[in-house]
Subunit: 252 residues, 6 copies
């Protein structure tokens, strides 16, 4: 099975680290590749970024399907283009928020998300609401660290994650923790172990790992997003970004 | 007050009809202008179209704000780019689904939306869910007409709208009707009158009119989308679509 | 357009101040008048007060409609008689809680209401629940001041409102603030500005202003509460309060 | 124990029939009396009627408490004045909709209400929503008979009730039936038996009986509506309907 | 009327105390008896315990019905076997959580449950969710005492209950308190009085008392759990626990 | 990886067919074994059956963990003992309803379950409610066939499943179909293909396959049900079914 991870940014420098985060949870017969976007933004941190990169994600998904991949992951908790791409391609497409949140809802009563900054809170809340899981989202806890520190001081990052996770459990009533920062990819077992040392027995879910397994499940079962929920649009003279426009049949 | 209607398509031929639909509900001191997108798709009929045109809507919103408009409408029931644009500009931005649905929830217990085709149903349901009004959406009733007939035979279109609205009331329990097709813009009073002739006393809400009034309300009250819900992203080296990319600080 | 504000109390002394609060948000062509009740209670502070004054509100609405007004506001966050009056008159009727809460839900994810005293909390919660917005109500924060101080010391009142609003944002997660005390009518911009000075960027909504704009919207669009939701009762020998009673056809 | 049934209308002719409906479910040591309102309307069939009679219900409740009754029932599915009266008196007050709906939710998954006319539907839906049980209300089924026929032809009334109940079960998925018409008081066992003959095994709940038992429960347990939910208002110079008004301390 | 209390444990030593807790709220003509299980666990403190004792509860319910009792109570907040038994017997069966929670929802807006230990929280939350009342459950507050202390020091237990109840009201917004520990059975009036001394006017509901009254209501009204919600299974060759098994018709 | 399927009945004759249904979706390195219960019922078709077999499921889970399996499936849509077993063992435990429903919610907006008989409806609805997905369950459609026919005439069974699935899509608005009968295990692709021939493009999910993949995901990620949601009970002198009982420390 071939999984294509789409890095929805133009920043190629962390491609290999991301690919490994997804590949770590893959079966031995699954091959994971990654591609970044040729155009877009260097990172995705807002609704505006989501909108700007979504067309590139759709295009990348289309290309990936042409290349014959079996499934597509979009490597960003804000999930740019995921639902649009489902209309376009026939292979399963999923992002880390949906995969991790549904898994969290299966194994516990309430989950909290660790986010890099406080301004992610409304976006994470919106995603949980969209997936019908708002009632299970106990809190969004920002790490409260600068980006550079996040990269430069993995130990401090981990310590902050564990501290926020403990607060989520003890103050917000979370039973499951989702580390929702790219910088924490693959750290779920470490966080879970550190919490256990503090006598806090909760489950910690790694979003990229959850994505890989969800895609393997869908491919294995022959299950893709339902065409009733994600209908193809009727054929029409489509104009890709950059094309000149012309008047056409009136849309609704 | 100046309201900028953004037609999120490249189809300039219906600009004036659309502008009039918005202007019809405007106060005498409100000036309504319209602009289409230079690039994008000729119509917006799917999630993929929404994604493709959203960056153009954001760009158009930014330009409109620079031009000094007081408020921005996005002329499409699928509301491409509306929430992203709210992060970018300080003037109010709203689309017809949110404006009409909240007004419907104010004046009745349950509403139905008339849509052009059945494949709009999941998208309308998603929007209602997003706005916390899924429990109020009684049904999405497709007109069941081809696009051409919609344009060419206004009488048949109106008759179909009235028939679907009657079904929504009598079979689905709707108390309010939202004609969600562009082709029905401005027809709300006609539909309401035709229903009354059949002894069906319900309220029919014209989405463009609801948008214009919502924007006038927001401007008048100095109320814009909350920065807590729509936070600005921290400044960073941003790359517009088309720019070359480069690696940058790692995002979450 | 003529808007009739009904002061649902017998206290005529604050008529002009209230009228101005509603008129402040009105279009230039809108005329706002106010009338108090001939009988009732001097203020409305409980469910019992709501019940006692509601018949007077209905009667006042009937008279206002006879006088040819275009829309009716009921000047009280507890909204006495609003829904009953909708059955009786054909012009739109709305109160400040519904108008402000729906506007709040349009521009943010969660709102808090500032109330004069803690015993308003259950009533405000009930209204939010009634309007389907309980999930958006983050908190009801009482000012914690005596009535006299509220009137006599506007500066202290404003300071208390700002303090409570800040708590609502920082502790309860509110994105929008609704000052739900009559004594704070028209102060929304001041509160918003004071919060911004503390780096708290939220939207503050003035309920009387929201009412005026909602009524202008409804009149402008020809939209009144749906007769399906607010059916007229079948004609029967009605007895106004004070009439002698007699047995009649058995009701359900 | 003494239960006071308040007939919230001026129609004294059905007092004894109503009293018997409540007394039928009472323990041997419970005494049930009934009083009608001196002023009001001959029946309660709309929100306007609810508003008009509510002050009389409050006054009757106050008098009943002075008379030393232990509990108060308000004999009307639309429950005029019930929640207001709870602020005023210390004895339990309840109406047939709340009592029957909570009992229905205890013994089944979904209930339907039989109503006299279709225009009761939105009011019954509002009550179910108010009590947090909207998700359990499967349908409101109108009997579709005239008032006179309801009184004059009990056999046809019962047949209509059984037919509507069967539809509620088979078409709407109801598991429990609440006959919500006064004319069906005491008929629950007959309806249940008639349904069983058609092989439809559901539970049918008589609202007056449910009220009597709920009140006995509350009195027996010493449980009355919580003062936190139904706070007393601060003492103030109150003006009963009919008193002259005067300006007073400003309310919120 | 005869009520059979089933003690779902093997611990007979507290039979009489439990029986009295149920009998205390009974009408004079109601007779309350208790029986413990011959096999099972000495107490019920987890989902595993619930599963282990449920077959014994079903068997005890079947025997009680054969003995001619009119109604059955299962004496445990975790309600083992209650819903299964409803399929088997025709008399009403109820447990203390459902009875107390529905009564709490009738008299207030939000309730809190006092539990012995923190590990009851997820189970109480699940029950509230099951009964559609999760939105009303403000908190589960553990007493934080050892079992022995609970038995040996009633005064300290009561003090802890009052302290936790006060926190539930003041910090969690509860309007009604449900003491959900067996050790607090019958103490509701004491807790309510102690809270009132601290100026906290809330309602405190004794679960065994609520059960007795709910059962008397159901028997009196001839209302049992609906056969549509609790269908009998089609007759088949049934094998009781302990029987040898054999292959049979394939189940779904 | 070793997955233990627990057949929660005493009917060993369909062990191999069931094992194959689970093994079909397994990775090449996963080994699937099955064990039936030594005592219990020949099939599980009601809440009573669920209660009767649950202790056996717990015991089987304990033994399976001792045998060193990595994960446990309980082969029954009614999921007897699943949540209790989670308290007892440290390996993941899941049943087909939860696995299939969460997968359905990931790939579509609303799902319907095909059940063997109409009396499964309330039990399936309860499970969907328990998992927070009641709002996504569009309908439960019974096949309307006798058990024998289900086994003897696979072609007719498949035809009935396709017919009911089509009704679920076209009449109930389902986007995803879950064949919830054991007799349909492994038939999901056939049903999906037959629907596609009728131009109904929906996703059909095979519950045993969904279970196998969910377990592989959990084992692969090191994710088990959260101990906060499924706490171990404090150690106490436990008595297995069959042991003699004795009084012990008082439980809550």
């Amino acid at each position: 099975m071939r999984i294509q991870v789409i890095n929805p940014t133009t920043t190629t420098s962390w491609e290999e680290a991301s690919r490994l985060a997804y590949a770590a949870a893959a079966s031995s017969t699954t091959e994971v590749s990654i591609r970044s976007l040729p155009h877009g933004t260097p990172s995705v941190e807002s609704r505006r970024d989501v909108a700007v990169v979504a067309p590139g994600v759709i295009q990348a998904a289309r290309e990936a399907e042409s290349d014959g991949v079996d499934a597509i992951a979009v490597d960003c908790m804000l999930e740019p283009g995921v639902h649009s791409a489902r209309e376009i391609v026939d292979v399963p497409v999923i992002g880390p928020a949906q995969a991790a949140m549904h898994l969290a809802a299966t194994v516990g009563h309430g989950f909290s998300v660790l986010a890099m900054a406080d301004n992610r809170r409304p976006l994470i809340e919106e995603l949980a609401h969209r997936y019908g899981l708002r009632g299970r989202l106990r809190s969004v806890r920002p790490l409260g660290m600068g980006v550079l520190q996040l990269d430069d001081d993995p130990e401090a990052t981990l310590a902050a994650a564990v501290a926020r996770a403990a607060e989520a459990v003890l103050q917000d009533g979370a039973d499951v923790i989702i580390p929702g920062c790219t910088g924490l990819a693959g750290k779920a077992p470490l966080i879970q172990a550190a919490l256990r040392e503090r006598d806090i027995e909760v489950t910690v879910i790694d979003p990229p790992a959850a994505v890989t397994r969800a895609l393997e499940t869908m491919v294995s079962l022959g299950v893709a997003p339902s065409r009733r929920s994600y209908p193809r649009r009727a054929p029409k003279p489509v104009r890709e970004p950059g094309e000149l426009s012309a008047s056409a049949g009136r849309p609704a």
